[in-house]
Symmetry: C2
Subunit: 423 residues, 2 copies
Amino acid sequence: MTNETNTVKEMMENIGQAARQASYVLAHSSTQLKNAALAAIATELEQQRVSLKHANQEDIERGRANGLSEALLDRLTLNDKAIDTMIEGVKQIITLPDPIGSISDLNYRPEGFRVGKMRVPLGVVGIIYESRPNVTIDAAALCLKSGNATILRGGSEAISSNQAIAECIRIGLAKVGLPPEAVQVVKTTDRAAVGELVRLSRYVDVIIPRGGKGLIERITEEARVPVIKHLDGICHVYIDDFADKAKAIAVAYNAKTQRYGTCNTMETLLVAQTMADKVLPELVSRYREAGVELRGCKRTQALITDIKPAVAEDWDTEYLAPILAIRIVDGLDQAIQHIRNHSSQHTDSIITENWTHAQRFLAEVDSSSVMVNASTRLADGFVYGLGAEIGISTDKFHARGPVGLEGLTSQKYIVLGDGHIRS
Amino acid sequence: MTNETNTVKEMMENIGQAARQASYVLAHSSTQLKNAALAAIATELEQQRVSLKHANQEDIERGRANGLSEALLDRLTLNDKAIDTMIEGVKQIITLPDPIGSISDLNYRPEGFRVGKMRVPLGVVGIIYESRPNVTIDAAALCLKSGNATILRGGSEAISSNQAIAECIRIGLAKVGLPPEAVQVVKTTDRAAVGELVRLSRYVDVIIPRGGKGLIERITEEARVPVIKHLDGICHVYIDDFADKAKAIAVAYNAKTQRYGTCNTMETLLVAQTMADKVLPELVSRYREAGVELRGCKRTQALITDIKPAVAEDWDTEYLAPILAIRIVDGLDQAIQHIRNHSSQHTDSIITENWTHAQRFLAEVDSSSVMVNASTRLADGFVYGLGAEIGISTDKFHARGPVGLEGLTSQKYIVLGDGHIRS
């Protein structure tokens, strides 16, 4: 082991240990205190606008010198509007109910003692993300409200912005007397730090990667700590034999065109054979008007002129772009089969007026969000009323779908006795 | 890659793929059908007593020839009583409520669509265990009831018994028309099969190891699939300044002596300084009568004659034996500190009549079961009313504490609209 990796290892151990200690304090801090810290952080962001923008300018200039694309530079930029959004986000988290300490299912057992479940923080959450500096504050605020200590590791492109935001958080925590180690931003840009962080199982309870598929796959491969994963969003809308034509067209159009680059955007449209000639001509003309490139299966090609053929790869591609694959299927069974084979289990929707088909789709499609007569674009923590989300989990384990405050908690058993023993 | 590992890899892939297919069927099988399968399996176990015992005899003879200890041979033995217990276990699981399909928190959003959560199986559960053949049936029955397909990999010592039990399960499933691949027992004793199984993230949703610490640590290190872990049980009872003397003595005695080899047995007794001379003399004499070896901190040594000194290692040891470490602490704060440093976060209990001390212990001790005035031995799925447990999780992620049917499930979001789109 070289001296340098030794240093990173030691540094991450120290960060982990400090986070664990801070997590003990946070775990039983009152809602009032946690909200006061969030309010102090919001005030600090407001007052440090100038230094935040100054730090961000450093990142932008370095990025430009390093040849970052305009799109990346755009994601990196912290202007007044972006700072407003960050502050609003923190204030909104203050208004959310605190999940910690709530006791459920507390019932007497026949022997006379009570058993129930108490909601508790996970402990220490490690967030690994790429270029957007707003993740620093969004993630820290959600973790703080749910009583977790946080270790944040952002992309090297945003290092100055992240440090400046971290400073606001540190001051806010200190103002209300919470340990500043409750939120730590890793200062090194050494990639070895990520490798260490995801293996710190003694001190870190969960890793949440936010970024592209490459980042998430690398972390999953290396991690020894549980990971809340968000992989692809290959989402489907299936227009059933018994679909209402108007709803079908409205939903299928919205699911594709409302926004192209999001994970809950439809990538494949499935249409029951009997509905194809009723909905596809109008949909195709609307998609084309919006500039969406269409790729169709053989049956679609027979129905629609000038449509590019869909190849095998299309059914497994998350375009994140104005491209849509269309497949005409025999009916519900083939639609479910297609979704099982190709969905990334993120969000899938059926358009139908048939009760039994709707029930079967809800029961048999195994995705984090399964919908009836609704656009896949609705799969979102804010839309679902979670208040805010730290990510959308495509895992089945622990949290599934949009992960809000509750996804950052766990339940422990509590047993209340009166000298009860086991006989 | 040698030909042999290639074969194991292929075999495990095939098992995984078949389990995934079977899981689709199980996921939406009715409670009635799953219960009918369990009843048919119970009947089969009853009718195949002779062949079960015969197969078990092969394992016993092989084990004896290989020099297995009497304790291991005892755990391996399937006699009529053990078969009765297996059958009773299956019948009891029939009586448990089916968690699958239950919908909770289904509420209207302001926009007019409804969002809720539906409980669904995890999918495919891999169970890796050591010598007890009864795990084969207990685990398979719990997974079946919760709609999961199961891949079972038992210890090589029990291979014949496990195959015989698997045959009963296979026949039971077939009798009611469920796919026999819903429960598969891995036939090879090649250890490479375990390595493949825990990396089959495409087909396996969770791994549950049941066995010693070595097995669990090895699996955690290798796994790319989430693992429900059960590591040590280093459990504490803390007798607070405000403890009731009679309850303190009853609980502390029971927590150590009711059974020595279980994970929820107390390994360290903490006593507040002010209570030490009130409870320790009587407790010590009762422990000694029961043959428990005592090891004490300096203050304990000053109070109790002839007590062996506890060394640093004692506070971190799961004895699983009639040995107890005793430490006299200043009070609640030092007790919580000790538990944070040394507990395995399995089960810890406070004995107190003081309301605030009880509340603080419940909030500040972060273990899978936290108790007030109750014996740690009560931490158990049956005692808690879960009906049966597939293990006790010492993780915070997903399931914590005794894992019953619900721990083998997840919740997906459902969205019920009427043509709703995102604007």
